[in-house]
Symmetry: C2
Subunit: 257 residues, 2 copies
């Protein structure tokens, strides 16, 4: 059965895209067929999966605007088992269009995804760094959501408000929505800040905190330069191994559920 996992956070720059791309690669390595949908119109996905500069056949914005089939927007990547859908063609004003459609039809993405169930084992949604209409659309479409929490004070402080917003979205659109966990990212245990944030997470969100933590490493920072998931260009690096471990942790939680 296809599982839809949203990678979301109101805080910017916490590792949502890096996590979505590497989780896609990790699940694909386990033999899954994975679809990665970029709901954030920032355009970071294509350069990370070997499709830099390619034009999407149909963007998510146009699928919504013209009520097209999501299948028409799918792009194959050079990596076995990973397909992607890009948010937009980077046309000016596209974000305004996407926001407008999302505000008017918060269930639109869920309905479009229903047409793809069975074609993929996992569908990953890479969300924008807001709590606006696009994040509502993303969480309305998901079975699970995973929150990357950068090991920094600002990122930690957005969690209470984020969970309050999720409760509202569950109530209005998606009662079955579950939390897959909090993933600490860019951890550097030599710094007081990382240790402080990890302690705060244990104290206040202990039951949601994933065991796997993602270190701050060059192999992950380099991903957009290399044009492929770190799990592909440097599988045995600290960054690559951390995301392989994360996939195992999520898969075993899924089996246990």
């Amino acid at each position: 059965m296809t599982q839809v996992i949203a990678i979301t956070s109101q805080k910017g720059g916490v590792g949502k895209t890096t996590t979505a791309v590497n989780l896609a690669a990790a699940f694909a390595r386990e033999g899954q067929r994975v679809l990665l949908i970029e709901v954030d119109p920032q355009g970071a996905i294509l350069p990370s999966v070997g499709l830099d500069g390619q034009e999407p056949p149909l963007s998510l914005a146009r699928v919504f605007e013209e009520d097209q089939d999501l299948g028409g927007a799918i792009m194959q990547t050079p990596f076995e088992g990973i397909d992607v859908i890009a948010a937009g063609r980077n046309a000016v004003g596209e974000e305004l269009q996407l926001d407008r459609v999302a505000a008017a039809h918060p269930m639109m993405l869920r309905e479009k995804i229903d047409g793809l169930i069975g074609r993929y084992d996992t569908i990953l949604l890479d969300g924008p760094p807001t709590l606006g209409a696009l994040t509502h659309l993303t969480l309305a479409a998901a079975d699970l959501f995973l929150i990357p929490v950068q090991a920094e004070e600002y990122a930690y402080r957005t969690l209470d408000h984020f969970f309050a917003a999720v409760d509202r979205i569950r109530h209005d659109y998606n009662p079955e929505l579950q939390c897959a966990g909090l993933l600490v990212t860019m951890v550097d245990l030599r710094t007081r800040m990382s240790v402080r944030v990890i302690n705060q997470l244990h104290e206040n969100f202990g039951d949601l905190l994933l065991m796997t933590m993602i270190p701050r490493t060059v192999s992950l920072q380099d991903m957009p330069v290399r044009g492929k998931p770190t799990l592909v260009h440097a599988a045995s690096s600290r960054g690559g191994r951390a995301y392989a471990e994360l996939a195992q942790e999520l898969l075993s939680a899924d089996e246990a559920a």
Copy 2:
């Protein structure tokens, strides 16, 4: 004459809030009266200016919703010369309201700010990490915009699209809008990535690149924990000095203009 400077970037986590807060402190140290307006409903401003946990008298969301006077939302901070306006009271759904109003009235913030001209020397706008309606509202209200560019590949890649969107906003709402410059942030010259991004910026955006660069330092990372601008709690730190230098560079460019 009051100058309105927007701190904006489509990329998340690049140092917009850190820059807005420290620039406010740097200008205040020069004897200016500064107003810092949080247009990003993430709620990071109050904990950074000694007002953690305080309730705004009136949030930006309510100023817009109820067509109130912006002056009613002003909060004094414990720091001489710095007043702030918070985006919201962190109520669930506030971001959707702000987005809705911004999409319907993109000139709303500019009109509200007109009522404050003369009360402040500089008004700084801390924008959200998107190119949606709130960023249009922010850039429509500004005289100048400054783009923090984190020394990372993803942040660099969003620039072309951002400038294309700015051209459109100039055309539709604000023909006088000027670029104050690109500010490289979280620079660590020991890393290949920082050197690479700085070289790319010189090559492709040389005339817009500010001389001042902000290093990645603990004193800036700690700011939300200390609850005050780094220029206040650690003025002689590398982070504090970098933002003092930035203020000088912007002020001398302003005089020369």
